[in-house]
Amino acid sequence: MTFGKYLIQRLIYAFLVLIVISFLIFMIVQLPRGDAVDRIVNARQAQGDIITEEDEAALRAQYGLDKPIYVQYFIWATQFVSGNMGHSMLGIPVNKLISERLAATMLLSIISLIVTYALAVPIGIFSATHQYSLGDYFWTFVGFIGLATPNFLLALILLFLFHKFFGLSIGGLFSPGVEEQPWSLAKALDLINHLWIPIIVIVTAQTAGTIRTMRATLLDELGQQYVITARAKGLRYRQLLFKYPVRLALNPIVNSVGYILPRLISGQTIVAIVMNLPTLGPLLFSALLAEDVELATSILMIQSILAVIGVILGDIMLSVYDPRIRMEKGVT
């Protein structure tokens, strides 16, 4: 099987999976009792408006909620595929809401991912090659602290400390008033000033797990026979360490790169809420709370698409990286 053929096969499967997922998402978001119109009616009534049965029916017809559920699904699905994700309950196009937040989300996620790997991989290698040394215990300790501290708590502590000692408000990605300005050096610097604290918070949580994975897989590989073979050939320990065991120990990490795609959206939601970051996580959260059907469905759908693409991407990267996987799948 050629690589192209393999890719097409994977994409066809992915498409089928997405159809099933889209139906499930659509159904689940509709599940809570009542619908958006009920809530609009309640809100208006609370303000003293008198809403007749006809008004309610007209609202339902306007949102398409009078049709059977499967018809609603097809209408939504065709719209979604053609790129129109509908409007949020506040009347803003969903496309606009999402694209506004996508850049910030990706910026934060990708930078924190790079920092995570840049820290975790070398520390993991150090810990494995110096197993049970003082350094290993130190990093294990730091790692577990990072793993055990709830992210949002760390975020709150940092917010408090910066406010108390430096008088800084570090919420959001820009200082008040800067966001609306056109891009300039000052705006970029302001962004960088705000960016590093959320990155610290996110990285602290992610690094610990990655260190543990790297340490454990590398320890496993260091005990393999091929390490002894390489030593018997006369290789320096350092030469063989990076050529053989580290290379193999990176397998799960290479594979997991694909899984960051779905995390772009819902990962770190609580931190984003606490730190007032304009990412997609809080948007999804509030959409779900408000039963904003079109917004929530769209975000969940995009997340699912990213997840499926991420898995394919991870598999492709791993098969490029590891010949055994390539052969197993019969791809040349």
Binding site: Q225, T229, A230, A232, K233, G234
Partner: protein, 330 residues
């Protein structure tokens, strides 16, 4: 010292410090490997034969192992005591692969699964100074051909899992002999292979020994293979050599009760039909803080209480070049 000695091991001890105590894997072992000859080391699993090999290569796990004794590698200009070298130093690394090379039991795990066999064999040349990649590749293809791998110019770019077990072991042998080492240590090289492939690999090793003039230290638990391969034989039990001599002395006139037991346990064509094969009762104990006594005492059919369990018998020469450690011959 024998005039044709290549490697002399004198009173070698290799211990591992474990939480449970000191594991005396190799506990006072002496033998000589002669130039262009094969020394067979035979023993059950856990008798220390592999650790002996690793000690000679200085590739025992470093953190908790300790070593003492002499390992003299003779050159024209004199001898190097391998045991005194820094195991991570340049001198030792240069010796590995160039003077002493090693092949292993399971060629699947002994190769990295994600690098081509060509890459891994060529690496042996590169670490020992080869710079010319094209020349290295040519040399490897020629060598793969020599060890009997068909279509070597294609196989060189294949991964270990694409080769059969026999071909993997042939590649492993090619990797070991590419620098014409003077000593090849073979640690159970045929144990993982089926019998026909085993015979082919043994023939290959004998041919290479004849053509290249190298000594072989052949480690196995298979007496049939030893009989086929070895000029000299050392029988190891629980970290000690209990009997040592020329192959024909050991096979025709075994002295130690353990060696005799091993010989009895070989099925003989036609004579053991319908009978149970003789076994040695019990199992090899773990050499954790072993007492200073005959290691075989607790399983020996000729055990003498108050003698065998109180001291280690000295080596007794029963015939020229044939020695045994047993009180029966003292």
């Amino acid at each position: 010292m024998m005039p044709d000695a290549l490697l002399e091991v004198k009173d070698l001890h290799t211990y591992f410090e474990l939480e449970e105590g000191t594991l005396k894997a190799v506990n006072g072992v002496s033998f000589t490997i002669r130039k262009n000859r094969t020394l067979g080391i035979v023993g059950e699993s856990g008798c220390g034969k592999s650790v002996t090999a690793q000690s000679i290569m200085r590739i025992t796990p470093t953190k908790n192992s300790s070593m003492r004794g002499q390992i003299l590698l003779h050159h024209e200009s004199g001898a190097v005591d391998v045991a005194q070298l820094d195991e991570d130093g340049d001198e030792m690394r240069d010796l590995r692969g160039r003077d002493i090379a090693m092949i292993f039991q399971e060629p699947m795990t002994a190769f990295s699964p994600v690098h081509t066999v060509g890459n891994q064999i060529m690496e042996a040349l590169f670490v020992h100074g080869e710079r010319d990649k094209r020349a290295a590749r040519k040399r490897v293809i020629a060598l793969l051909d020599e060890v009997g791998i068909p279509a070597p110019e294609r196989r060189i770019d294949e991964y270990p899992f694409q080769l059969s077990g026999g071909m993997r072991q042939r590649s492993m042998i090619a990797m070991a002999i590419i620098l014409n080492p003077r000593l090849l240590i073979a640690d159970e090289p045929t144990t993982a292979l089926d019998v026909t492939i085993q015979a082919q690999i043994l023939r290959l090793m004998k041919r290479l020994q004849r053509d290249n003039g190298m000594a072989i230290m052949f480690i196995t638990h298979d007496l049939g293979v030893i009989a086929n391969m070895a000029d000299d034989v050392a029988v190891m039990y629980l970290g000690k050599i209990v009997e040592y001599g020329a192959s024909r002395q050991i096979f025709n006139d075994p002295k130690h009760p353990y060696t005799k037991g091993l010989m009895r346990s070989i099925p003989k064509f036609g004579t053991t039909i319908g009978k149970h094969l003789a076994t040695i009762k019990g199992t090899v104990p773990v050499p954790l803080d072993p007492p200073d006594a005959c290691p075989f005492a607790n399983r020996c059919a000729e055990f003498i209480a108050g003698t065998c369990d109180v001291r280690m018998p000295a080596a007794v020469t029963v015939a020229p070049g044939h020695s045994v450690n047993c009180v029966l011959y003292e």
